[in-house]
Symmetry: C2
Subunit: 409 residues, 2 copies
């Protein structure tokens, strides 16, 4: 895979130019994407690299974000031929920081569940996960050093886990969602994909103007082993991976405590779908009203579910979400981060499903920062993702602990 | 002015058809808007009225919301000729409820401060206020019974006050902002204009599926007289109006207590601009990067201010906003609503400024529901708006108290 930090170092040291780094990604896409299907459209090849701290970094952008220079279809035939007049905020931020938005990556329909055509670069018979399928695959296949995705259920952490790359879902609203097609406004979150945790931290820092570098920790972290109340939905391979990672971390000096899931958090996980579908039904109101025939069955069912949800149920869901947020913050009184599965298992075989977000959706609802740490594999050699969850607003510590774990594994 | 409730009653009773009600608004627009300039574009005249509880209600929609069938310019030449592929969520909700989206109303540039051409129907030498200038004027001039606006500072309550109509800014996120051009995502709020408070409550109920009817109160409300820490910025006429309204309310049986502004709330008012400009700088990143020459000076200055704001100052502003929200909720322990000015004075003369949002921005930051109650006028006969502020989520009570006050005055 291509490392953001390495490329920036090479450019700084004069070993390559920003233009060469961008050309290299373009050549890799030309060579490899025919087999993967991560990209929908590439930017003009003659575009010169930008000016700024991310100059030389080619970034794939999930096609759920508006780009003025490339078609933006949100994964739906409703938007065939759509060309937004302006960039999404995160895209403008990338360009202002000097990054090259090299192409649009495949998303499932409106970043929901209906799968698209991208395959998993680790094994093409497997799904790359969704909904940020193309962004995860583009990084995993070594075509670009970074990619932008989004998560409303598990759409960053899960594909990162399935493809064996770093996925970083920041604290809610660290990055703006303006110009991103809305599915659920109280949960839609912009996220990043990169090779290693330090690479994700570097991009996040340079984009946000905040210190989010995954600097080495001075002491081993205090880790809460968080098996969750749905531990039985994790495969034996995943259960083993989590337990053995906890053991390795303890061996390396981490303080490990087992943390039972509070009721407020299991309730939060349970009402995610109510909040999501109610908001999606409003957000995609015109798509449903005028273009229902162009929507997938799975989406139409979710929207119908949203329309039949009473506002009182939604309001109650929002109250439960607020309580879950408070309970999530309280978990971190004596620990730095939680350790929990990124997904129930490795990537399923086939492209008819992008897998389950059951291990992710709670943290999207609460807005806690999450990092997928790659490194473990199942007996068949497919990646098993480990999820590090941080306290809301403590993204830097979450990234640091994730890096510590990545280097420990 | 046209009353939503009256029109719906007339249709129900068979005194007119929905189609006739829509035609009537169209004829009124044709006759009157040449002098007012509230509308930018009208919908196809042959469109049949919708089917639903709002059938027969012609609604003007601020041109900050996407409409698939009319140009959407957000008040900026950057978007000349822009035609969004789908409706904003609130527009789709209007149509789904049977309302006729009869035309797009004038907004200031990106709903910020640069004035547009609409005049005040009460006196054409005065500003109608902004940024929802056209929506307030369209209702005030009796052309439509309802209009949609938005508020990030004071853009619903202030123009309603200046034009002498009911303005209702609901609790934050009661109505979705999807498909509305973002200025500040943590404050942008969809609001309504109508003739009387009951009309606004009726539209809000039928659109949201919640009971927001401004039913008569069984007992006179408990009102907090909230002069605020910026009372000296209200004109003598406004100060007299507030004091005499409080006296009239007390005479009519209301329990009136004077409430001093807590520090947490004056601090909230002070940091509104920091939060707003930081978010606007990201939300309008591409507009600033590629189209700076097409932006007004006042907007460019606000965006430059946003770019020079450190993320730490913004984060601190968001913390102060959270504290202000808590403090705002605590105000309502022993009262139903607050009584406070809607604006410093009546509408200023001239069209070079849309007036000040100083009496509104705190409540946009905290997300409390606000209602402008019309009825009082200054010595020159221009409307002086009275603002009723309710507890977050208690919109019905705020509307009920506003109706009580409206009928008392």
């Amino acid at each position: 895979m291509l490392s953001v930090c390495q490329i920036l170092e090479d450019i700084q040291a004069g070993r390559k130019t920003a233009a060469e780094a961008i050309s290299q990604s373009r050549a890799l896409i030309d060579a490899r994407d025919g087999d993967i299907g991560a990209f929908l459209e590439l930017a003009d090849a003659d575009a010169t690299p930008g000016d700024g701290p991310l100059a030389g970094i080619a970034v794939g952008v999930k096609d759920i974000f508006d780009t003025y220079d490339m078609a933006t279809r949100y994964g739906s035939p409703v938007f065939d031929g759509h060309r937004p007049p302006v960039d999404a905020a995160i895209v403008a931020m990338l360009r202002a920081a000097g990054a090259s938005v090299i192409g649009k990556t495949v998303t499932t329909e409106f970043a929901f569940m209906h799968p698209a055509g991208t395959v998993n670069p680790r094994n093409r018979a497997h799904t790359p996960g969704g909904s940020s399928s193309g962004s995860a695959a583009a990084v995993a296949a070594g075509m670009v050093p970074a990619a932008i995705g989004s998560q409303t259920g598990g759409s960053v952490i899960r594909p990162a886990a399935y493809c064996g790359v770093t996925g970083y879902k920041p604290s809610f609203r660290l990055f703006p969602t303006v110009g991103m097609k809305t599915f659920s406004w109280s949960m839609d979150t912009v996220g990043l994909f990169a090779a290693k945790v330090v690479d994700a931290g570097r991009v996040a820092s340079l984009l946000s103007g905040r210190d989010l570098e995954a600097d080495p920790l001075r002491e081993a972290p205090r880790i809460g082993l968080y098996r969750t109340s749905i531990w039985d939905q994790a495969s034996p391979a995943m259960q083993n991976a989590i337990d053995s990672v906890a053991q390795s971390a303890a061996d390396a000096g981490a303080h490990i405590v087992e943390i039972e899931e509070p009721d407020a958090l299991s309730r939060g996980r349970d009402i995610h779908t109510i909040v999501q579908n109610f908001e999606a039904a409003m957000a995609l109101g015109d798509e449903h009203r005028r273009h229902a025939a162009k929507l997938s069955d799975v989406l139409r069912e979710a929207l119908d579910d949203g329309y039949s949800t009473r506002p009182q149920s939604y309001d109650n869901g929002r109250r439960i979400a607020r309580q879950a947020r408070k309970a999530a913050t309280a978990l971190f009184n004596d620990i730095d981060v939680l350790l929990t599965p990124s997904a129930p298992d490795a990537a399923p075989v086939g492209l008819t499903s992008t897998g389950s977000s059951i291990f992710n959706r709670l943290w999207t609802l609460t807005g806690n920062p999450c990092v997928n740490v790659a490194g473990r594999v199942d007996p068949a050699g497919m990646p098993l993702g480990i999820q590090i969850v941080g306290r809301f607003g403590r993204d830097k510590l979450a990234l640091q602990a994730a890096r510590w774990l990545e280097e420990t594994l």
